[in-house]
């Protein structure tokens, strides 16, 4: 059995984001990067399945990006993945979800994966499209926003979270792709000895140019913080005085009384 887990590295969400020169993404210098939270659930669930099946499945973690994505890949290896694939791409932020899915599908199509785990969405771009597109390109079924997962002999029982907290249960056959949501599991801390042992695990590096053939379908035209709201004015005093203050403001600062 072969399993693929797709992970993305995203900035720490407590960072201060500033638009870059082109105004279509944020300045990445000085930001701390982490594994996308939803992808941690994906890695954890894949590792749990491997453990449940007596360690038999081979777990591959894949990430696309510059050399810094080696960090989440090493974390995935330390958490229990067997090998990693680094699709080297210094311009990953300029690719749309369709292109990202195309890269993953181009890598995965001949590998015979029985299961593919991804996060429900990334914390930075948040499109929630990559999982769905990838399954479409590979011609396999997909279930999204998993909060429960069970696997038995080629059959997947997936519990999904719906609006308003309702749950849906979906049954499907592998090969399949699932996207993972908060509540599915509590990811383990990779232990320090396992982080050291991960150094010995295989990391395959592939050039993005060998995998990406698709053109982008969408284009980000602007990235900017929300417009700042002006601070409210609090007036104090007795009512007659307040009335005069309001009148003054309406006269001076608005066209209402002109």
């Amino acid at each position: 059995m072969k399993i693929l887990v797709c992970i993305k590295q995203v900035p720490d969400m407590e960072s201060r984001f500033r638009p870059d020169a082109a105004g279509t993404w944020f300045v990445e210098a000085d930001l701390a990067f982490r594994m996308n939270e939803y992808d941690e659930y994906a890695v954890e669930e894949a590792v749990r399945l491997k453990e449940k099946l007596g360690g038999a499945p081979e777990l591959t973690a894949l990430s696309i990006g510059p050399d810094r994505v080696l960090e989440p890949l090493k974390k995935a290896l330390a958490m229990g993945c067997d090998r990693a694939v680094h699709v080297k791409d210094a311009e990953v932020q300029n690719k749309d979800p369709w292109q990202i899915a195309s890269i993953i599908a181009a890598y995965a199509k001949d590998q015979g994966f029985d299961l593919i785990f991804t996060g429900m969405q990334s914390q930075d771009r948040g499109s929630a499209q990559v999982g769905g597109f990838t399954s479409e390109l590979l011609g396999i079924p997909c279930v999204t926003t998993l909060v429960g997962f069970a696997y038995d002999n080629g059959t997947i029982i997936a519990k999904r979270e719906l609006e308003g907290g309702a749950r849906g249960v979906v049954k499907l056959k592998s090969p399949a792709l699932v996207t993972c949501q908060l509540g599915l599991n509590t990811p383990r801390y990779p232990t320090l000895p396992n982080i050291m042992k991960a150094k010995k695990k295989e990391i395959v590096t592939l050039a993005v140019s060998d995998l990406l053939k698709a053109e982008h379908l969408t284009k980000t035209t602007s990235f900017h913080p929300p417009a700042k709201k002006g601070g409210g004015v609090i007036l104090e005093g007795e009512v007659p005085d307040l009335v005069n203050q309001v009148l003054g403001i309406l006269k001076e600062r608005t066209a209402v009384l002109r």
Partner: protein, 385 residues
């Protein structure tokens, strides 16, 4: 020396997450109860924290000192008592064996120290031998194929939890100096070894310290570290060169947290219709603390790199310990000042840290002993040239 930056970053990130999610939320409770819950210590074991500095061949992580220090900066964002639990295994309680132990001694103790299955303690200080450690009076007299230990060791960190003690004792009663001292590995439960009561301390509640008493305590001759008499004091000094750099990193970590607490308070607290962080007198205190933390951090990293290149760091490690220990106390004092009356109240972490960090100017050599080491080394080096 950082062997693999990505791997180290994953480690530091893991510790940072563990500190935020598991340690900081319970640090106040640990202090109040004077006890770290067993499940937290188990989690620390599982994470591998006890084996940071123990070589990989003995099941430790074999981190370089620079790597270890980066982990310590992060771990010490939580109360110093958590570092104290692993501190003796990573530092003084294991280093004697790592540095001067025989292969058999290493094989017997290091894997268990690395996993945290056992705790090691370092028994050098005595009631009448603190700063003047070389004058220690605990005796170890040869009797056939055994040594018989007699004496009292004072303020021994983690002694109540320890399974093995690195004990410094005089094997040559006619030699009152450092070269009459040898180092032994004494197991808990050895007849004649007993513990005093837990000391009630000013701070670092949850970390334990007590006397270790030897009364005709017979240990086999192969408990002598390196099977060599008379080199124990040298072993102790080698251990301390490294561990002083480690403690300096602890000070940097703690100071970083304290300043963070003070900064957040200053930005939140309003007086005269403004956050107090807008006032220049508050800003001066914040800036001085920031600059001093940066200086100490740079010193510690530089010294660790030198140690990893196998160079002598006796002077540098004392410079680090002197500066970092004094620095963290100034940072804590300013933090109390920034918090004003609240800084004197138990509800605020700053009050606890203020008491906790006072110890750093005292143990593993007082600030004054660091000054003496630095100055003596300066004179020695100058007279050589």
């Amino acid at each position: 020396m950082i062997k693999d930056e990505a791997t180290l970053n994953v480690m530091v990130d893991t510790i940072s997450q563990f500190v935020k999610e598991r340690l900081i939320p319970i640090e106040e409770q640990c202090s109040e109860n004077d006890q770290i819950p067993h499940e937290i210590i188990d989690e620390m074991r599982e994470l591998g924290l006890f084996g940071l500095s123990i070589p990989e061949e003995y099941d430790g992580l074999g981190l370089t000192l620079e790597e270890e220090i980066n982990v310590v900066f992060e771990l010490c964002q939580a109360s110093p008592i958590f570092r104290s639990v692993i501190g003796t295994n990573v530092g003084i309680g294991a280093l004697g064996i790592v540095i001067d132990g025989t292969p058999e001694q290493k094989k017997k103790y290091l894997p268990k120290l690395a996993s945290g299955e056992i705790i090691g303690a370092f028994a050098l200080t005595e009631p009448d031998a603190g700063s003047d450690a070389a004058s220690l009076r605990t005796s170890a007299l040869k009797d056939g194929d055994h040594y018989v230990l007699n004496g009292t060791k004072r303020f021994i960190t983690n002694a109540p939890e320890a399974s093995v003690f690195t004990v410094f004792a005089r094997t040559d009663p006619s030699n009152k100096g450092a070269s009459g001292v040898s180092a032994f590995l004494v197991d808990k439960g050895t007849a004649g070894l007993s513990l005093g009561k837990n000391e009630k301390k000013m701070g670092q509640w949850g970390g334990h310290v007590c006397d270790v008493i030897f009364e005709d305590c017979r240990v086999p001759a192969d408990a002598l570290i390196g099977l060599k008499e008379g080199v124990g004091f040298k072993t102790a000094m080698k251990v301390l060169d490294k561990s002083r750099t480690h403690i300096s990193a602890v000070c940097v970590g703690a100071a970083t947290r304290i300043l963070d607490e003070a900064l957040r308070y200053a930005m939140d607290r309003k007086q005269f219709n403004k956050p107090i962080s807008d006032f220049q007198l508050i800003q001066a205190m914040l800036a001085d603390s920031k600059a001093e933390i940066f200086a100490a951090k740079s010193m510690v990293l530089e010294t660790a790199r030198k140690y990893d290149l196998k160079k002598n760091i006796s002077t540098e490690s004392s410079c680090c310990k002197l500066f970092a220990a004094e620095m963290v106390n100034r940072v804590a004092d300013r933090a109390v000042q920034i918090l004003g009356g609240s800084g004197y109240i138990r509800d605020y972490a700053v009050e606890r840290f203020y008491r906790d960090v006072r110890l750093f100017r005292l143990y593993e050599g007082t600030s004054q002993i660091q000054q003496l080491i630095i100055a003596r080394n300066m004179v020695k080096d100058a007279s050589r040239s």
